[in-house]
Structure formats: structure tokens, C-alpha cells
């Protein structure tokens, strides 16, 4: 082939080292061209199928085309039959995967349900992926392993992709959050000895634990305390403790309570060391918690793999939404390979029929729910809280960061493809403890709080 190359063109490589066929500058370019070619072939195949269906006899088709001309025929048929849509629909299911063996990290908590259950229940395999779900010891480790590309995608707390992207707590690396894992599903658990001190005003001097500094747990606990007039930095102490250590610390009386992901709260009840004071849905019903996240590099360099992975997770999320499937999921994710918890603990979390630690059985099917849509307003709220508690210094463009990190557009399209109903507006307004949040006025919202660190 090299005989046909222009040796005076600086883009041309005369030595070997291009792609496998020799016609492209790099293997990546070769693969792109191949994918385009495959797409063109697919389109032709769809057109062929439509024409065969319209004109069962080839003689008739040829006469028709001769009479009106190919271009007119195509236009005429397109008005009758949505050819473009048919091609789209056909392409969706194919698209060559750039990589099929993936490694996805998770923290063993029920928030990760869609990521985990997609493995035993076969959702990854359904989209042609061979995914290894790897249990990870803590949020900082999962962040470092994801940054180090050891994981292709990872389960993170929804503030983490924002923090990574703006460089809070680590060097800034463009990160994305294509889907929310779960909504609600957290709780404030207190040590049993505090069962008569249910009013937050009596909590001065308490030692609380949250899983990570950049977590919804931290922001929700701070919000809840501050709304009750307790300054989260001065009146109580809040430290980050890995979830598995929380129950052990509560038992050893090192902490008075925690706002933690499940199954930690239910486990504290199961082991008789604490009681569930409040579900996080009572602070903000429908709040996001954990997220499915990937680097922007992964999303742009492997678009098909990313879409397949996201579709597998969205599909799993859709399954997890249905209350009747929750028992099956609990049994699938409780074993040692995944959460490593007694089945009943996981089942109580997922079904919402649970023991509260004070002798009552509570029935709240909304205790945890799964809604993958990454509303941009969620991101803006999280950023306002980062700002409020001094994790972000200086001015930021709330809406721009939210749009960059929370990939609402992709989620809308892919949710439709797996048969889910995406919301019409990627920005929604909501209430947190009765206080309305207007995503268009983030700075005014930050300034409206009496207790803040700005």
C-alpha cells in the first residue's frame, strides 16, 4: 500500500506502525472507520429489507424506480415508513464494543444494588459485557483505583464525581456521572442508650460518623442538624468512618450515632446496638445518594462500551424499582461475594418492612428506591452544600459544572431505549425539610442559611 502514499504529506507514515490494514494512521482511526462502514452496511440492509417488503416482486420494484427515480422513491418511502428511525433502532442493538472485559468497583452497601445485581442476574451479559464487580475497601480507595484506571467504572457517592471534576480533595480530572444509583435509602442511627433523646436540640456534644466528607450523608446530616439549630462544626463532631467500622464503633461507644448507608443502619438494629432515628427520606424525599460514575475519557474513548454498560445498569435499575422483585434481589446480593450480610438485613432494607430497633415494625416501601435519572438540580444542590460548608472556595458556575458532570442527555436517550420513562426536564425543583430549592438561584440559596462557613 505504501507505494500509493504521498511521501510529501506530513500526515502519512511511511513506516509500519499504523493500523492493521495499513490504510489508516492509527488502530483507533481504523476502528472508527470500520464502525462507520459497518453502520453504512447496516443502513443498506434495513433499506433493502423495507424495499423487499414493499415490492415482493423485483420486476415491479425496478419498474417503479425507473419511472420515478431513486431519490424520489427514497423520499416517498421515507414519508410512508420511518426509515431513519428503523435504521436507528437497528443500530442500537449492534455497535461494536471497544472492550468487553470490564472491571467495576463497588462498596458493599445496598446503594450499589443495580451495579451488583446486574452481575448475578445477568444484565451485563445481556449487553455482551463480561464485567467483574470488585468489592473495594473505602471511598478514598475506590476513587484512587478509578483514577488509576484499575476500574473502568465505579460506584461512587454522587458528590464525588463533582469533587473530582472541580479538584476538591484531589487533583481535578474530568469525571462524569451518567446515572444515579438509588434515591433515599439512608438513615440516622443512634446508640440505644439515646432512645429517649430524640430531639436534635439535645444532641450537643454528640460524636457522629458519616462515610466520607464528600457524601450526601455528610451534607444531609449537617443540613438536618443546622435546621434544628445545632452547628455541625461547633456543637457536635462529625468524622468520616468507613461503613463497616460504624457498627463496631457504635457498639464500642466511640460514637453516638451516624448517618449511614444501608445495610449499616439495619445491621446496627440486627446486632442490638442501635435504633433507626430517622430515614433520610424524611429529610429530603427522593434525594440521590450513590452514583454510577466513569471518567470522561472512558465515555468519549469507548462510547459503545459505555452505552452498553450504562444500559445494563439502567435495565437493572428498572428491575430494582419494582417492589415485587426486591426479595429476589436481596437474596442475590446478600452472599459473601457481594454484600456479605444476613439476607434478612438486606431484605428489610429493600422491602422497607423493617425492625426499627425499639421494638416496632415499620412499613415504608419508599425506604429505598431506584431512579437513575441524574437531575442537574441535584448536582447544583450538592455544589451549594459544598460551598456552604467551605469545601469549595471562591466562585463556581453551578449550572455549567452540573451539566458537565451529570450526563442527563445520555441518560434520557438510553432510558428510552431500555423502556424507561425519562423525565422531560433535566432540572427539577424540590424541597429539603420544607425549604424550597430553586436551582436557578444557587448563590442566594447558600446565603439564605444562618449556619454556614462562607
Amino acid at each position: 500500500m505504501s507505494a500509493f502514499r504521498n511521501p510529501f504529506d506530513y500526515k502519512v507514515r511511511l513506516h509500519r506502525g499504523g493500523c492493521s490494514c495499513g490504510r489508516h494512521h492509527s488502530q483507533a482511526e481504523h476502528e472508527r472507520a470500520e464502525a462507520l462502514e459497518a453502520r453504512a452496511l447496516q443502513d443498506r440492509a434495513v433499506e433493502g429489507a423495507v424495499m423487499r417488503a414493499l415490492f415482493p416482486q423485483d420486476e415491479v420494484r425496478r419498474r417503479f424506480l425507473k419511472a420515478v427515480g431513486g431519490g424520489t422513491a427514497l423520499a416517498a418511502i421515507s414519508t410512508l415508513f420511518p426509515l431513519g428511525l428503523a435504521k436507528e433502532a437497528f443500530a442500537e442493538s449492534i455497535g461494536p464494543l471497544e472492550k468487553t472485559r470490564l472491571s467495576v468497583g463497588f462498596i458493599p452497601i445496598t446503594c450499589a444494588t443495580p451495579i451488583i445485581m446486574a452481575h448475578p442476574l445477568g444484565y451485563y451479559a445481556k449487553y455482551g459485557l463480561d464485567v467483574e464487580v470488585v468489592k473495594t475497601a473505602g471511598w478514598a480507595v475506590i476513587r484512587d483505583k478509578a483514577l488509576a484506571r484499575e476500574y473502568d467504572a465505579a460506584h461512587m457517592l454522587s458528590p464525588m464525581p463533582l469533587a473530582i471534576s472541580i479538584g476538591a480533595g484531589s487533583s481535578p480530572i474530568p469525571w462524569t456521572m451518567p446515572a444515579v444509583e438509588n434515591i433515599n435509602g439512608q438513615a440516622i442511627t443512634l446508640a440505644l442508650k439515646h432512645k429517649d433523646r430524640r430531639d436534635p436540640k439535645d444532641w450537643k456534644g454528640f460524636r457522629f460518623a458519616v462515610p466520607f466528607d464528600y457524601s450526601m450523608h455528610n451534607y444531609l446530616l449537617r443540613y438536618y442538624l443546622a435546621e434544628h439549630g445545632v452547628d455541625p462544626d461547633r456543637d457536635v463532631s462529625i468524622r468520616s468512618v468507613p461503613p463497616p467500622e460504624m457498627v463496631a464503633n457504635l457498639r464500642a461507644d466511640n460514637i453516638d450515632g451516624f448517618l449511614a448507608p444501608d445495610p449499616v443502619n439495619q445491621r446496627a438494629v440486627y446486632d442490638g446496638v442501635g435504633f433507626i432515628h430517622l430515614l433520610s427520606k424524611e429529610i429530603w424525599d427522593g434525594h440521590p445518594c450513590c452514583a454510577f460514575s466513569a471518567s470522561r475519557e472512558f465515555v468519549t474513548a469507548m462510547p459503545n462500551t459505555y452505552q452498553a454498560l450504562l444500559k445494563a445498569i439502567l435495565d437493572a435499575t428498572a428491575y430494582a424499582r419494582k417492589p415485587e422483585n426486591r426479595k429476589e434481589i436481596a437474596a442475590a446480593i446478600a452472599p459473601t461475594n457481594y454484600l456479605n450480610q444476613p439476607v434478612t438485613v438486606v431484605e428489610q432494607v429493600l422491602t422497607g418492612t423493617f425492625a426499627d430497633g425499639l421494638g416496632n415494625i415499620v412499613r415504608d416501601p419508599q425506604r429505598i428506591d431506584f431512579d437513575p435519572f441524574p437531575y442537574e438540580s441535584f448536582a447544583i444542590w450538592i455544589l451549594t452544600q459544598m460551598k456552604r460548608w467551605g469545601q469549595i472556595k471562591g466562585d463556581i458556575d453551578y449550572a455549567a459544572v452540573a451539566r458537565e458532570v451529570f450526563l442527563a442527555t445520555d441518560a434520557t436517550r438510553l432510558m428510552k431505549e431500555v423502556g424507561m420513562e425519562p423525565p422531560a426536564d433535566p432540572v427539577k425543583s424540590f424541597e429539603v425539610m420544607g425549604r424550597r430549592f430553586d436551582p436557578s438561584q444557587p448563590q442566594a440559596y447558600v446565603d439564605s442559611f444562618a449556619i454556614r462557613r462562607t
Binding site: 458493599p108 467483574e132 464487580v133 470488585v134 468489592k135 473495594t136 475497601a137 480507595v141 484512587d144 483505583k145 483514577l147 488509576a148 484506571r149 484499575e150 461503613p243 463497616p244 467500622e245 457498627v247 463496631a248 457498639r251 445491621r267 438494629v269 440486627y270 446486632d271 442490638g272 446496638v273 452472599p335 459473601t336 461475594n337 457481594y338 456479605n340 450480610q341 444476613p342 434478612t344 428489610q348 423493617f354 425492625a355 430497633g357 421494638g359 416496632n360 415494625i361
Partner: protein, 280 residues
């Protein structure tokens, strides 16, 4: 006295063990619960919580049952995050041997150079003194950040913690070879290389072996903590995973296995050490 009755010491060991297990059994004995709760509620919580108490420490019986489970099926593989204790120990031992081997490759030649040249010794001493007391785990975040691979980072931590005892002992052993022997070698006009291998090495070998023995002990101590941090595989990960499940019986079994393997590593190096000792 003990020489006459060699069975006395093992017997005493058994008595100690029996006393310990007995006390343990007494301390963890579960008392029958009195508080009665609604049976539907009781089904949702653990046995201890249902009777109004906290979940208890497991007794010797529970631990023995778990231990038997691990011994009879040490090599199962039920997915990425659930492997038998034999496989986990294998991963840990492999990491330790790799890190330790690399450290030996670096520390022994470097120790030789340092020990043979008082100038190099004095020049490198401040660095060694500063680097030696750093807890190996303090290197972990730095290693993860720069190496960008958790497995290699764990090996690196083992490498760095086994380096210092070997380096210092080798240098010390080489530096304190008896002057007379070196002088004899010089009078016989033995080449420097031959002196190093045939006079200094055998003379310093016992000290070097002591350094290696200390190193392997430290490496085995550190691997458990390192694996608890990075996760994935290894006995440290196993302990962390069972802690996640608050399964104390599993943790105690793992502790016993960690002790056994540590003892094996130590005895092996002690044997090797005895092979190179000499009488002056």
C-alpha cells in the same frame, strides 16, 4: 530437671491452652434472654437483639466450627470477592515473598557497599535514619498515587518495609568482619572480589540472615494491614470482608492462620540462619 522430663513443657502448654479456652467459654456463655418481643419482630433481628441484648462474642465452639469449615474447604472460588482462605493466604504469601525478594536483591548488595566503605556509610546514614522509622503503611497513599496499581503498591510497601532491617544488618555485618581476617586475605594477595565472596560474605552471613529474619517478620505483619487497605485478595482482605459482616468467628480463624503462617516463615529463616552460623 526439664531435661529429665521432656514431656513437661508440652503438657504445660496444653494446660495453658485448656485454661484459656475454658475462660473464653465462660466469658462468652450466652445467658437465656428474658425480654420477650413480638415474634414477627424477633424474626427481623439477630438472636441477641431479640432478647434485648447486643450480639455477643463467639465462643470457642463457634470458632472451632468455622475453623473446621475453612480447613475442610480452603480452596473454593465463588467469584471475585469470595475465595477460600487457602487462596487468600496464597496471595498474601506470594506478595510477601515478591516484595521481600526484591528488597533482598537491593538491600544485600547495597549493604555490602555501605559496609565496606566508611565514607558511603556516613553519606547514606542520614537518609537511612530518616527513612527507617517511617511506618510502611504511610507509603501506601503515595504508592497508590504514583504507581497507580493497587497490587504493585502492596508489593512496594512490603519491599520498603523489608528493606531497612536487611540493609542495616548487612552493612553492620560487613563492617564488623574481624580485621585480622581481612589482613590475612590481604597478605595472601586475594583479589577484592574474592575477599568479598570468600571472606566477608561467610563472615557476615549470620548477621545478614538475622536481618532477613526480622524483615520477613515485619513483612508478614504489614501485608495484613496493607491488604485491608487495598482490598481485592489476600488474608488482609479476608479479615476486612468478614469485619464488614461483623463475623468475629471468621476473623478469629483468620488470625490463627496468620499466626501459623508467620511462624512457618520465621522458622524457615531461622533454619537457614543456623545453616550459615559458625563458631569462632
Amino acid at each position: 530437671m526439664a531435661g529429665n522430663r521432656p514431656w513437661l513443657a508440652p503438657l504445660l502448654s496444653l494446660v495453658f491452652l485448656a485454661v484459656f479456652v475454658g475462660l473464653w467459654h465462660l466469658a462468652t456463655r450466652t445467658t437465656a434472654g428474658e425480654v420477650q418481643v413480638d415474634p414477627e419482630y424477633a424474626a427481623l433481628v439477630g438472636a441477641a437483639a431479640a432478647t434485648g441484648g447486643k450480639s455477643a462474642m463467639p465462643g470457642p465452639g463457634d470458632v472451632a466450627a468455622k475453623l473446621w469449615e475453612h480447613i475442610t474447604d480452603p480452596f473454593y472460588d465463588r467469584g471475585t470477592n469470595d475465595k477460600g482462605i487457602g487462596i487468600q493466604l496464597g496471595h498474601s504469601i506470594a506478595r510477601v515473598l515478591l516484595g521481600f525478594g526484591l528488597a533482598a536483591l537491593v538491600a544485600i548488595p547495597l549493604g555490602f557497599v555501605i559496609g565496606m566503605s566508611p565514607l558511603v556509610y556516613r553519606a547514606l546514614d542520614p537518609f537511612i535514619q530518616i527513612l527507617k522509622p517511617i511506618s510502611p503503611l504511610a507509603w501506601m497513599p503515595l504508592a497508590l498515587y504514583t504507581i497507580k496499581d493497587s497490587n504493585v503498591s502492596a508489593v512496594f510497601v512490603i519491599f520498603i518495609c523489608s528493606l531497612w532491617p536487611m540493609l542495616i544488618n548487612t552493612a553492620f555485618g560487613v563492617a564488623s568482619v574481624r580485621r585480622d581476617w581481612l589482613n590475612v586475605a590481604r597478605t595472601l594477595e586475594v583479589s577484592r572480589l574474592r575477599t568479598a565472596f570468600q571472606v566477608i560474605l561467610p563472615a557476615a552471613a549470620p548477621t545478614i540472615m538475622t536481618g532477613m529474619r526480622i524483615s520477613v517478620g515485619i513483612a508478614w505483619l504489614v501485608i495484613v494491614a496493607a491488604e485491608m487497605l487495598v482490598g481485592g485478595t489476600g488474608i488482609g482482605y479476608f479479615v476486612w470482608n468478614e469485619w464488614n459482616n461483623l463475623s468475629i468467628a471468621n476473623i478469629i480463624s483468620a488470625i490463627l492462620f496468620i499466626g501459623l503462617v508467620g511462624m512457618l516463615l520465621d522458622t524457615t529463616l531461622a533454619r537457614l540462619g543456623r545453616a550459615v552460623t559458625y563458631k569462632e
